[in-house]
Symmetry: C2
Amino acid sequence: MAGAEGQANMDETKRTGSPIPGAPVAAAPAASLNAEPSLAANIRPTLKTIAFMTGLGITTVSRALKDAPDIGAETKARVRLVARQVGYQPNRAGVRLRTGKTNVISLVLSLEEEIMGLTSPIVVGISEVLAATPYHLVVTPYSPSRDALAPVRYVLDTGAADGVIISRTEPKDPRVALMLERNFPFVTHGRTEMGLAHPYHDYDNEGFAYAAVRTLVERGRRRLTLLQPPPHLTFHRHMRHGFDRAVRDFGVETIPFDAVDIDHSLIDIRTAFETLLHSGAVPDGIVSGSGAGTIALIAAIEATGRTIGQDLDVVSKVPSDFLGWLRPEVITMKEDIRHAGHELAKAVLARIAGQPPETLQSVSGLDRQDV
Amino acid sequence: MAGAEGQANMDETKRTGSPIPGAPVAAAPAASLNAEPSLAANIRPTLKTIAFMTGLGITTVSRALKDAPDIGAETKARVRLVARQVGYQPNRAGVRLRTGKTNVISLVLSLEEEIMGLTSPIVVGISEVLAATPYHLVVTPYSPSRDALAPVRYVLDTGAADGVIISRTEPKDPRVALMLERNFPFVTHGRTEMGLAHPYHDYDNEGFAYAAVRTLVERGRRRLTLLQPPPHLTFHRHMRHGFDRAVRDFGVETIPFDAVDIDHSLIDIRTAFETLLHSGAVPDGIVSGSGAGTIALIAAIEATGRTIGQDLDVVSKVPSDFLGWLRPEVITMKEDIRHAGHELAKAVLARIAGQPPETLQSVSGLDRQDV
DNA sequence: GAGGTCAACTGTATCGTTGCAGTTTTTTGG
DNA sequence: CCAAAAAACTGCAACGATACAGTTGACCTC
């Protein structure tokens, strides 16, 4: 546009570089400062270092490492060789500043869902997948008393990550709505019911509850009850549906137990269940949606002098097999949370890579044979 | 140096900014691109945005927000007001690139130490402390089969974090040596024995083992054994010392049990302990250094028809109180791992702030009354 | 041999921030 | 009333990487 020919470039000497020896350029110190990326040993190599070593331009080196089509094959080979040799690793801050790409996955965690050590295996599972990638895992916590939206907003507003993993989803989850609206890559651990497609991984809680009821019925139990997830979370519905459907299918009775849910403290659960056991309506079969909760149930059961496997049966979903060791009479069905971590990580990465959400939805659990 | 007066500055029009309306500068699009940080709504505010809004220079805004001494009080107030108003948050990549400060704490985790959910509460504890700071928590995993030094080297070489938290320390820990040598801020969860001062937080395993033995002795137990940590870790020695010293002090007998340690699988521990129970030398008191391990011990004990609290007693260190619920006959002593997370996080932050290592060493556990 | 095409390479500007070295204005001292 | 000093503010360059818009030279084509 605008200005005539003389305006832009074409000085006789390009200011950058100009390492032609003997040329009457600037002063010595200035030159050495700019030209040689590092005489010393332990400075971290940058593109400039490689450019200097290969005699190429910084741009060329950058493109060569990216395998761009307009760089010669031999040049690429040379650059890669030198890069490997000096142990070049792109400066994350540089990339991030220029491109906005953070190479970070943010795991948004409720600090209190931690009571029963679910975090641990999920972190491990995610880490295992990310280890093979340039991605880092950042834990973004929030206290559940506060707004669950806050951490998500933070990531979105500050561009702190390329992808987000959230759990404890609700049927109408504002976090999902927000990220979908902003077209931000994420996966949820748990489904939603908003009529919007997004990546998720979920445990088949409906299948679990159904199978649990069936198991109890097969043992002759007829008066069943459920220790269920908190009502505002999606998987409350799933578990309820599975339970209720099975109860209908098998024609058995249910005893309501709504005073507490698996988010309550063990003490509360125990107290509430003891109360139930002292009431007129005593169940002979219990489905528990949480391994920790089951411990409280067991305490209540034993405190009232009953024996599991005899007076009543308990089927529990568990994250690990402690219960199997300590109370083999409790029937357990394992939820593989580490596997969930794998799936979640793979899904965000795929989403970031542009794969459509519909293809990134999975449910794991029992074989669905029995549903 | 070199060139005469005309060289450096003093063009009539400064190229940057020049938002004087009506001045005959460049073309419209170029100007709008540079002058107005954003007409649109949702662009993230930067220093430039605030500079534009306040009419100040970018440098001034930066310094004002840093509360530098050469900025006027009123100016600072104005800048802060606008910054708050527009929700300014410094771009981490910019800061990091310029200053090298990452605002990241790296938690270096062995992926397999995870068997018994220690990670969860430690992550929570660290997060709780970091939440009040600009720091993020990044999980840097390694598989224990591989070099434990690798992740530390990575952080050091790439400057991925401002501070590191490691666990599973060894008496001569190469990671500690490396970070000390590079003068890099870190804390260890567990002590070392290298004669070098560094920040640490540790559980008082010696005190635990001593108290455990005392408890057993008080119950009349005389033939004691220890399920101990793996020999290469520092706390193996601590626990051993506490155990051995108490055994000496109280004049009781010990039964060797070195076939397995708490890092072995539950199956292995159970098998090994059953073997011991079937041998001639049967203990009547057991100290267990791990909650998970205790479960395996219990299984072995019960499989051989013995009763805890009667034929023998078990004292176990535990991370949570499941055992207390399910096997109240087992005597438990709780290790508060979340608290460890707090201490570790506070220590790295203090170290980063320049506090001397000697002041950042703590041991928690039982009151040391009994040692 | 002028003009065009293509392959291979390169300089410049930029992301947002801060260290540095100023510049301008006001105040102070003599 | 002028020089010097202090106070308040500012532009430039740089951190490392990449998008973009060239530049260079070899090779073709007519």
